[in-house]
Amino acid sequence: MAESIAALRTSPVAHLAERMRDATVTGARGVTLTEWPYITMVNLRVDPSSEAADRIEKTLGTPLPQRCGHTAASGPHTVVWLGPDEWLLLSQAETAAVAAELQEALAGDPGSVVDVSANRTTLELSGPAARQVLEKGCPLDLHPRAFGPGQAVSTTVGPVAVLLWQIDDAPTYRLLPRSSFADYLARWLIDAMSEYRGPAIP
């Protein structure tokens, strides 16, 4: 049953796949935009000093990040800091299994484990010009001295609230907007990318 439903789902920007492909810019000012749909996301809330948090850390195989911007990776999982007692678990593993595992680790203690996989989608912006594209609409300092691989923060790109996560030095960024804002954000990024097709204006 679950598999047949999975086959029917449509990602929030599936209808823009072709336009995102066409927007690809190559060369020294290259930048690409792709979607990574259906990544498992579990919202986790628990007091970080509690025993339940210890059990969850043991289940995940990594300590929960304690500061804004920090992430922790372990096998198929990446844990992103959302707040002093709130995390988002991104995972390649199967949603129901991950949620059940964490629910068991929480064991009824104060806190929550909620499957929010459909809440957001993932857009990946990569290439030498990726930072310049984001800087058109992101109020954060994205210069390497202030923001680097493995960091993830909640912020805005244009008017859209996103979770912005840098993967590597290419630079590659993953933007996680809420599903209903993904269409607008993808179009915003496609528009912002178009200028890098031509030569740099001195």
Binding site: C68, L82, G83, P84, E86, P139, L140, V153, S154, T155, T156, A161
Partner: protein, 94 residues
Amino acid sequence: MLLIDCPWCGPRDETEYHYGGQAHVPYPETPAELTDEQWARYVFYRDNPKGPFAERWMHSIGCRRWFNVLRDTATHEVLTSYRLDAPRPGGTDV
């Protein structure tokens, strides 16, 4: 544009926050015994100082936590920010 220091996330632009009005307005201890005038005073009456003013802000785009900010209403300078469980820096909870 104000640059506000979130106690958890650090300095961020004003656009990431929501304003929450005057800070340190305690809920009445005996709400059932209040007169209409006292209720009106609690609900609607707020200070309007020229100078440092303690107010509540919420980092709605970031960590979604409420905290307090001490801001100069004449110069818009953000003097400091502190958590809800901390007293107002420099005393006088008004």
